[in-house]
């Protein structure tokens, strides 16, 4: 009797979690696939129809899908490389011991606790071509200062990358800093005794030892960037001329502006597969150096 009770106990402890997990995480994933095989429009009286792979075929022959894929990939590469490099540089500097470094760390982390939507709203008043701070400052120092940061096809995506950089570099920096502080000091001491210069130390000791952490940062950046949504939704609505139409933005429009729910579910699946493929690709190419395999 006692032993049966003992066997049940752990299941009792995990069951509240797993009931919720199955209902709101696992079940929707499977149901989403079923939805993606149907034609569902949220209009009164329009019937739900099983269409097999039609949504996927439509998607793969749609120009807007490829445009959104291009935007998401450009954003991932641009945003990823810029903010990770800034974060790495600052983490290396903040890893030195000097007065006031905790203050800097706190400052850099403040945007991270600001919601993405509110970040975008705040930046709206900086990038506004008429009353925005950026153009005001440019005019004050004698430059034209009439750039259309958000509504010109050339500048819209770079502007959104800038907002993303502001929002995220502190987050990555804190993770890298924790990684740097885990590198044992005697390694540095030994290198110094051998007469290594500080750039040699960074190249041959710091970066290789930090690589697992950098790998983690790159991985979460790619996953996060492929889901870019709030900034284009608030700042550009995917425009101008679809230059900021990210995959998630396209999914949202399909599902909640045109109410093609089956099509949007198919897009959700494609996005999932893309993210997993990107993760797998990274594990295959960089995983060995990161000590994963």
């Amino acid at each position: 009797m006692v032993s049966i009770k003992r066997k049940i106990i752990p299941y009792l402890f995990i069951s509240p979690f797993f009931v919720m997990f199955c209902a709101f995480q696992l079940a929707p994933i499977f149901y989403g696939f079923w939805m993606s095989l149907q034609k569902i429009t949220l209009m009164v009286g329009s019937p739900v129809k099983f269409v097999g792979l039609e949504n996927y075929l439509n998607l793969l022959s749609n120009v807007r899908f490829y445009q959104s894929l291009k935007v998401s990939v450009l954003y991932t590469v641009g945003h990823g490389s810029i903010h990770l490099l800034i974060a790495l540089g600052l983490a290396l500097v903040l890893n030195l011991k000097f007065r006031g470094r905790n203050i800097y760390r706190t400052i850099f982390f403040l945007p991270v606790v600001t919601s993405l939507a509110v970040s975008a709203l705040i930046w709206m008043l900086i990038l506004d071509h008429h009353v925005g701070l950026l153009n005001i400052v440019l005019r004050k120092i004698g430059l034209p200062g009439n750039y259309r940061w958000l509504d010109s096809p050339q500048l819209s995506l770079p502007s959104i990358i800038m907002v993303g950089t502001w929002r995220w570099f502190g987050f990555q920096m804190v993770i890298m800093l924790a990684g740097l502080q885990n590198i044992p000091n005697d390694l540095y001491d030994a290198a110094k005794v051998d007469g290594a210069t500080s750039s040699q130390i960074i190249r041959h000791i710091t970066l290789p030892l930090l690589f697992p952490v950098l790998f983690f940062c790159i991985a979460i950046t790619v996953i996060g960037s492929l889901m870019l949504f709030e900034e284009p939704f608030i700042l550009t609505q995917g425009g101008p001329r679809e230059t900021t139409l990210s995959l998630a933005m396209y999914l949202y429009q399909s599902g909640f502006q045109y109410f093609k729910l089956g099509y949007a579910a198919a897009l959700g699946y494609v996005l999932t597969i893309l993210i997993m493929a990107a993760a797998l690709f990274q594990v295959k190419t960089l995983g060995k150096r990161a000590g994963l395999t």
């Binding site: 994933i29 945007p111 509110v118 900086i126 608030i234």
Partner: protein, 270 residues
């Protein structure tokens, strides 16, 4: 050496300016009259007013949005702590059939984007009448994969002898969780609480999709609705942004250590 130090502080200061200026601009703009923002934009405040805050609180449903955000974030946080600490305890301290498989399923779910889940959920919630209810924002995500991982990691560090001594003293299994484990892992629960509160407070996508009635909006969704309105007032928008950032900044400044410890747990092996 001195030359290097100068460059170092220069880089840090530039980055700090880049970080702080948007906040500065939001705060100052929230205290400027509408006419000053549009007609003669200036970098410093010239005529100070609290008109934006007054009309935000009295002429828009902002108070209601603040209330909604609070209710949702607090309930969500409590649920996350409840589910994850209990589940994490079982994963850390018991052996049971299927344990590794279940844990693997939970962890792999972290790579599934919310976008694959939100459309089916929207469909279900519409049918069940959960659109425009707090439940739609509190229940999904409360069984949090990161949360159960965090809890398991910390509870593994709690000595098993401590739990056994509780058993000898006649404590029930639930009593051990509630009276021994929970008090010992308080710091980790704190970290999880901040993480969950921030995630819910800052969530934009779910309230955007599940809340259709403006009175049920949360702060970020309500504020973003100001954009593109006929009478678009930047000052109002900035006042709302400032109010929404205040609670999270206070939490962050007060509990910075726990937050950072929680964030870096997944990335850095001790």
């Amino acid at each position: 050496m001195r030359y290097r130090l100068v460059i170092m502080y220069l880089i840090l200061s530039l980055a700090a300016i880049f970080t702080v200026v948007p906040f500065y601009w939001a705060v100052t703009s929230s205290f400027k009259p509408q006419s000053k923002i549009f007609e003669r934009p200036a970098i410093f405040i010239q005529s100070f007013t609290i008109e934006n805050y007054r009309s935000l609180l009295l002429e828009t449903p902002f108070q209601r949005w603040l209330f909604n955000s609070m209710i949702i974030s607090v309930s969500y946080t409590l649920l996350v702590i409840f589910f994850c600490s209990m589940g994490g305890y079982a994963f850390a301290k018991y052996d049971f059939a299927g344990k590794n498989f279940l844990f693997f399923v939970v962890l792999s779910s972290m790579t599934i984007p919310v976008w694959a889940i939100i459309i089916p959920l929207f469909m279900w919630f519409s049918r069940l009448g959960l659109i425009n209810t707090y439940w739609a924002l509190i229940l999904p995500g409360s069984a949090n994969a990161f949360g159960i991982f965090l809890m398991r990691q910390y509870i593994q560090g709690v000595p098993t002898e401590l739990l056994d001594s509780g058993r000898i003293d006649g404590c029930s299994e639930f009593g051990i969780y509630y009276r021994i484990v929970l008090p010992v892992i308080k710091p980790a629960v704190g970290a999880l609480a901040i993480y969950a509160f921030l995630a819910s407070w800052n969530n934009f996508l779910s309230p955007l999709i599940f809340m259709r009635n403006p009175r049920m909006f949360t702060i970020p969704v309500g504020l973003s609705g100001f954009v593109g309105q006929k009478e678009f007032r930047y000052g109002l928008l900035m006042a709302g942004s400032v109010i929404s950032v205040i609670p999270v900044s206070i939490i962050f400044l007060a509990m910075q250590k726990q937050l950072v410890a929680g964030l870096t747990l997944g990335a850095v092996k001790e």
